[in-house]
Structure formats: C-alpha cells, structure tokens
C-alpha cells in the first residue's frame, strides 16, 4: 500500500497497522509509520492494542473434533486399504 501524504494522520495509520506488522510497507512508508508512532501517544497505544489482540487470539484453543466424528474417521481409515 502506498501512502501519498507527507505525514500520516491517525486515521490513515490505523489502516496500515497490518501491513506494518506483516512487513508489507515500503521502506519509506515504514519510516513514515514509525515517525508517526514516535510522536503520537494515541497511535502508540493503538498499535500496542493490536499486538495484544493478536497475542490473546493466539491463546484461544482450537476446537476439537467430537469423539463420534473422530471414531467414524478412524473406522474409515481401518476400512481403507493402502493401494
């Protein structure tokens, strides 16, 4: 994503957070992003909130298969003859 303006507004910055975290911004845009973060308390907190969000989402557990469904699949596997 390219950023046309010289300086980012906060409203523009929040749309670039994922690109920033994914390393998808150009070096110039990365510099502009970090320059803004360095001067803006609100955006510093916003970026931190996004990082924390990613962290807590990562702690959610993956829903397991029901025992019945797993048993059915294992039965299918037993019935399956390797060619």
């Amino acid at each position: 994503m390219t950023v046309d303006v010289e300086q980012l507004s906060c409203q523009e910055l929040v749309e670039l957070v994922t690109d920033y975290l994914e390393g998808a911004l150009s070096p110039a845009d990365t510099a502009r992003f970090e320059d803004h973060i360095g001067r803006c308390g609100g955006c510093t907190i916003y970026l931190e909130q996004m990082r924390r969000t990613i962290e807590v989402v990562g702690q959610l557990s993956v829903d397991a298969l029901t025992p019945d469904a797993e048993r059915d699949l294992l039965e299918a596997f037993r019935g399956w003859r390797p060619a």
């Binding site: 990562g58 397991a64 298969l65 797993e70």
Partner: protein, 210 residues
C-alpha cells in the same frame, strides 16, 4: 524447509502403511481448520463439519496417488475447497467469490470515523478525537474476556474468520494461508486486517466498560 519435507515424507509412508496413530494425529491437527475454511462456502456449522468429514474420505481415496507436488496440507485443503464448493452449489448457495477474490471492493474502516477529528480539521486533520486507552493486563487474561474474544471471531464474515483463525490461532504463515485458500497476497492481508481490526474494536468496547 528440507526438514519439513522429510517429516512429511515420513508421515506419508506411515499413512500409506495404514498407521492409525499417524492418521489420528493428522485429523486432530487439521480438522478444526478444515471446518473453518468450509464455513466460507457452506452456511451452517453442521454442513461444514460434514464437508470436513468428506474431505478426509477424499484424502484416503487420493493418498496412493498423491505425488507430493504440493505440500500435504495444501493438497488436503484443495480437496476440501472442491468438496465445499460442490456442496454449496448443491445447497443452492451463491458462492461468496467476492469475499475471497475481491475483499477490498467494499471499504471498511478499522476504526469508526467518529473516533477521529475531521479530515479538514485546521490543526489536527484525522487525528484521534477519542484516543484509545491502554488495556489493563489482568482484564485481558480474564476468562470472560476470552469468551468475548471468541464471540467476536465467531461474528466475523466467514472469509475473515478463516484467515484470522489460521494465522493467529493456528499460527500458519501468510504463504500457507494463501495456498490453502487460493488467495492473493493483498487479499490475504485485507481479510486479516479487517478481522484483527474488528476483534480489537470488540475487545476495546468490552474492556472500556467501567
């Protein structure tokens, strides 16, 4: 990378030899993601679970012919996608192609516009009108916060839910998600951005309540 390929070759040998524990481990590892991805195409959780079950049968059927030109994971997800699309057509469901191929068509703001000053504001255009506040650490790890978080993810459009689940819950790389869902790099990022932004907003509105 070479290590992963070797581990996969070993797993394939065990599966082909009829090793049940290898199959069980594979199912446990991938089934939750298969169900989430299936939900992009079919309308109910039950239908998605059936599609995942059918996918495993398809995997067994194709295992002897699998040549390893793609990774095992990519191959399994291709089977899933085909079955899910067929199922969606049978159920008379319009495929949400636009959700995957053109997610940026409809603009969505990461943060409500009314949180910012006017873009024409003389002094601070587009600056925070209402700044975010740092979150209390203890609230963030509370069980109830997790419930809200899970609800926020469940409420996402299916394509966004699939991408955030694979990336952030299951820890896949963006390339793995792109391959499994057949997404462009940009579209993967747009879906991830929207999903994460909405989940953050949901957390904020929950944690900001006094």
């Amino acid at each position: 990378m070479a290590q992963a390929a070797a581990a996969e070759a070993q797993l394939l040998d065990r599966l082909r030899a009829g090793d049940e524990s290898a199959f069980r481990a594979l199912v446990r590892e991938y089934n939750p993601s298969l169900v989430r991805v299936a939900r992009i195409y079919v309308s109910t959780q039950a239908a998605a679970e059936e599609v995942a079950q059918e996918t495993w049968l398809g995997v067994l059927n194709g295992l002897s012919r699998f040549e390893g030109r793609s990774s095992l994971r990519t191959w399994i997800f291709r089977i899933l996608t085909n079955i899910a699309k067929t199922r969606a057509v049978r159920d008379g469901r319009t495929l949400p192609f636009s959700a995957l191929s053109d997610p940026g068509r409809v603009p969505e703001a990461a943060v409500d516009a009314d949180r910012f000053l006017d873009p024409e504001h003389p002094r601070w255009p587009g600056h925070w009108a209402l700044k975010p506040e740092a979150w209390p650490e203890d609230a963030l790890i509370a069980a109830e916060t997790r419930e809200r978080l899970a609800e926020a993810i469940e409420a996402l459009p299916a394509a966004q839910r699939a991408v955030i689940s694979l990336r952030d819950i299951e820890g896949w790389s963006s390339e793995e998600v792109r391959n499994a869902l057949d997404l462009s790099e940009t579209n993967q990022r747009v879906l991830l951005h929207r999903a994460r932004s909405k989940v953050r907003a949901a957390l904020e509105s929950y944690l900001d309540q006094p």
